[in-house]
């Protein structure tokens, strides 16, 4: 696959002694969460109908309790960053409203939901790449705003730490999330690279132009639900730009550019 370099050669400083690679999960190591969340919601609904039919009947208009979760998020800012806490609390409140045992409903429902939520299929090559990074000495961690549990997925054992909005007490782009990576590894931020698919989620301060682009990114997000499972090409585009020219014109796979052409 084509590799387009935009950075000037020789611009890299000396490599750090220890390196950390922080990976986002959904949309980065496996396809975006939309379809698996829909499936997990359906699994939860079936479980409620089977085990707690009164609750399921009472919340027939909110089958996966998503509406209730939204109301809780609005009234409980302390939970708003954490989908897991919101869902657990929604199950609890729904159980109480239906006269069902709150603890049993919440714990049982979350177990069912999370089992389905963690049934992800990593992109081809991802397990091998993570293993390669680890064997090369990098500290590999994961950092997600979502509720997937790495150790319950096919990528179990490939990261030294799995951090989430739940564990950090905040959600990206909050600085606390990235500070948690540094704290977990002891490797400074300058020797850490974060890898993720969602610019929007990681934007800390929104400004006018970014708000405009947000709308198109939301459109991109909706299209992501239809992503294919084919192996992604290894297209690499390097930034920032010192000068727009090819850094390694003779590199294998280098796409012809103005620097390469005679």
């Amino acid at each position: 696959m084509a590799v387009v370099l935009l950075a000037a050669p020789g611009a890299e400083p000396a490599p750090p002694a220890r390196v950390c690679v922080s990976f986002d999960l959904d949309g980065t190591l496996w396809p975006p969460a939309g379809p698996v969340l829909v499936k997990a919601g359906a699994v939860l609904r079936s479980w409620l109908e089977d085990k707690h039919p009164a609750l399921a009947e009472r919340f027939a208009d909110d089958p996966d309790l998503g509406v209730l979760m939204g109301k809780i998020a609005a009234s409980r800012p302390d939970l708003a960053h954490c989908f897991t806490a919101l869902r657990g609390e929604a199950l609890r409140q729904a159980a109480e409203a239906s006269g069902e045992p709150a603890d049993a409903v919440s714990e049982g429902g979350m177990a069912v939901f999370r089992a389905a939520r963690n049934a992800v299929e990593p992109y081809p090559g991802v397990p091998a790449a993570m293993a390669s990074l680890r064997s090369s000495g990098a500290a590999v961690v994961t950092l997600t705003n979502g509720n997937a549990q790495l150790e319950a997925t096919p990528l179990a054992g490939l990261a030294v730490a799995a951090l989430s909005a739940t564990t950090a007490g905040a959600a990206k782009p909050a600085r606390a999330m990235f500070d948690a990576v540094v704290a977990a590894t002891g490797i400074p931020a300058a020797a850490t690279v974060h890898v993720g698919d969602d610019v929007e989620a990681d934007v800390r301060h929104r400004r006018g132009p970014e708000r405009r682009s947000d709308r198109s990114r939301r459109s991109d997000r909706s299209r992501r639900s239809d992503r294919s499972r084919r192996s992604p090409p290894a297209t690499v585009v390097f930034l920032p730009v010192v000068s727009r020219r090819c850094a390694e014109p003779s590199a294998p796979g280098c796409a012809p550019c103005s620097s390469c052409r005679p």
């Binding site: 890299e12 390196v19 949309g27 992109y123 990074l133 690279v193 890898v195 800390r204 992604p232 730009v241």
Partner: protein
């Protein structure tokens, strides 16, 4: 990306494949958008797959051997 950059980290933006979409073109378009971002907040690389991190860290940045 911006959060990581503001935290002092390097950042790599992954553009996953979308069915029916030219993936390479999508990666190039994302890179073009990044060029419009202030350098301090700009992703250091845009890739089509997280698996490219091995190449980036070994062959490009030479952080790993």
């Amino acid at each position: 990306m911006r959060g990581a950059k503001r935290a002092g980290m390097r950042a790599v933006l992954v553009v996953p494949p979308v069915k029916g979409q030219d993936h390479a073109a999508a990666v190039a378009a994302a890179a073009a958008r990044e060029e419009e971002v202030p350098p301090a907040e700009r992703a250091d690389a845009v890739v089509g797959s997280a698996t490219s991190l091995v190449e980036i860290l070994t062959s490009r940045w030479r952080w790993l051997h």
